[in-house]
Symmetry: C2
Subunit: 160 residues, 2 copies
């Protein structure tokens, strides 16, 4: 969690890794995406995925989990520097989400986030919009997931 | 779940409704999006959302849940007509996801899906790509969520 003024294009954060076990894949699918290829190994093998595959929304939700944890780390780093941590804003949405390859049981994804644009907003004084490209690669280095996310960030302004 | 040949632009399916209770909002947030405004009423009131707000990924995952249930209904309808139900394919991703308004505790969203394009694919013989605009409106009729989704669908071909 940072202020708008601290952000530069090209800044990159490593968000961490997550292993999609068969158990976790099935548990998410039962709740939110109960399609056969997300629930059953044999159905997965017979599908275009070629194996028990994680729901794309599971891959996306884990990315959010890691983004939040990274924000908490950034907040702790700001506090360690003696700065008042900013309050993060909500996201207005995102663009161009791609599930470019299957995520199969046992795959470990490593997520990262890179700033692609940053600007002040006309409609919300004191706030700006940060756009970042979030990417996940599997244990073979293949990109499996990406999206361009936007998030409101406060300007430091008088608070600095 | 239908075959590519059965799909026409403008076809619309009502996917059903879902009420985001405070309990469900917090349970999803604890697992995947533990930001204060998704976990705590007071933190929500102080945020740009103005109340305890559902994670956007929760709003999206519920949409997937309803899309799957609708696919199962369509499959049952096909079977009732004596047709062999097609096996649905995976999604290559989507575009232009928007969380246009907050979803607050107690809000009931109604989801729908409308076909915006349909075409055969050059790279996967026997399959095509269906693009649909998926939308959720709240109990006041305000649009809160939308995205353009793509999904692979089999062509009926010889199976008919």
């Amino acid at each position: 969690m940072r202020y708008l003024e601290d952000i530069q294009i090209g800044m990159r954060r490593e968000l961490g890794s997550f292993t999609f076990t068969a158990e976790l894949i099935k548990a998410f699918a039962r709740q939110f995406d109960p399609q056969p290829f997300h629930l059953d190994e044999e159905a997965g093998r017979k599908s275009l995925f070629g194996g028990l595959a994680a729901s794309g929304w599971h891959v996306a939700s884990v990315c959010m989990k890691l983004l939040v944890a990274d924000g908490q780390r950034a907040k702790a780093e700001a506090e360690a520097r003696g700065e008042a941590p900013p309050v993060g804003g909500p996201s207005p949405g995102f663009r161009d989400l791609r599930w470019s390859r299957p995520v199969l049981a046992g795959d470990t994804l490593t997520y990262s986030s890179e700033v692609v644009s940053v600007r002040a907003t006309a409609t919300r004084p004191g706030w700006g919009i940060l756009q970042s490209k979030n990417v996940a690669v599997n244990q073979r280095g293949e990109e499996v997931y990406s999206f361009l996310g936007s998030v409101f960030l406060p300007q430091r302004g008088d608070a600095a």
